[in-house]
Symmetry: C2
Subunit: 155 residues, 2 copies
Amino acid sequence: MNKQFWITDQPISIEEVVKLVSRREAGAINTFVGTVREFTYGKRTLHLEYQAYLPMAEKKLEQLGQEIEERWPDARTAIGHRIGRLEIEDIAVVIAVSTPHRADSYDASRYAIERMKEIVPIWKKEHWEDGEAWIGDQKETKTYPEGSPKKEDMK
Amino acid sequence: MNKQFWITDQPISIEEVVKLVSRREAGAINTFVGTVREFTYGKRTLHLEYQAYLPMAEKKLEQLGQEIEERWPDARTAIGHRIGRLEIEDIAVVIAVSTPHRADSYDASRYAIERMKEIVPIWKKEHWEDGEAWIGDQKETKTYPEGSPKKEDMK
């Protein structure tokens, strides 16, 4: 795997993503792993289905990498996002950011996941016990269908 | 591996640490990986040697886990720290924290690494090009020997 940013329908290895950013100059690697959660504010998910608009999604991930380099010039970033059907506890996304010192690795990794949800065209279909709906991954807390908990109930 | 907190002289697998905290209730796993950096403020490290006061170190890691549970009741934490001789780029520590939602995973993971350096009795011997010194891991930016950069030069 030479790409630093990719979409795949295969399981993602955390070690593989970390290896892409590990280097002699780094002392810190922050990794964010997004997994499929069973219960969201009391609503039970059975499984998820992710779809992406390719190759725009990979292009946007690369843009995200550039934004991080502009803000944290010493950082190196890699992101793999899985699409297709995912079961509970499966890994949907792995973000790894290496930096010389740890504070930057946390800040840049956090930036990466928040920004990813803003700009990368990936959607998920939630299959609940009592129905299903396509949800923009980037707006998961804003576009829940009628009857689901309101944003103000969420912490 | 059933322990959630341990010291070892063997390489640590990131996937193994993540597996210890992965669960159906979690949607986010933040991982911090500390690696051996070659250059620290211009000074070149050849290799490191970590020693821990056992079993106090594991006891303190467990205490840290309890502190996290008190602050983030939905979090689950695992930490593995390696001791012995480590080469450049080797992994010294892996922290993984899972939570239902991502913000908490970042906050609790950051708490873990900062607190670890405060309370866990682990020391490292820096082997530089021009000498060597034992350094309390928890005080790495404060106890550098004479002639090394001052704290105020560090970002």
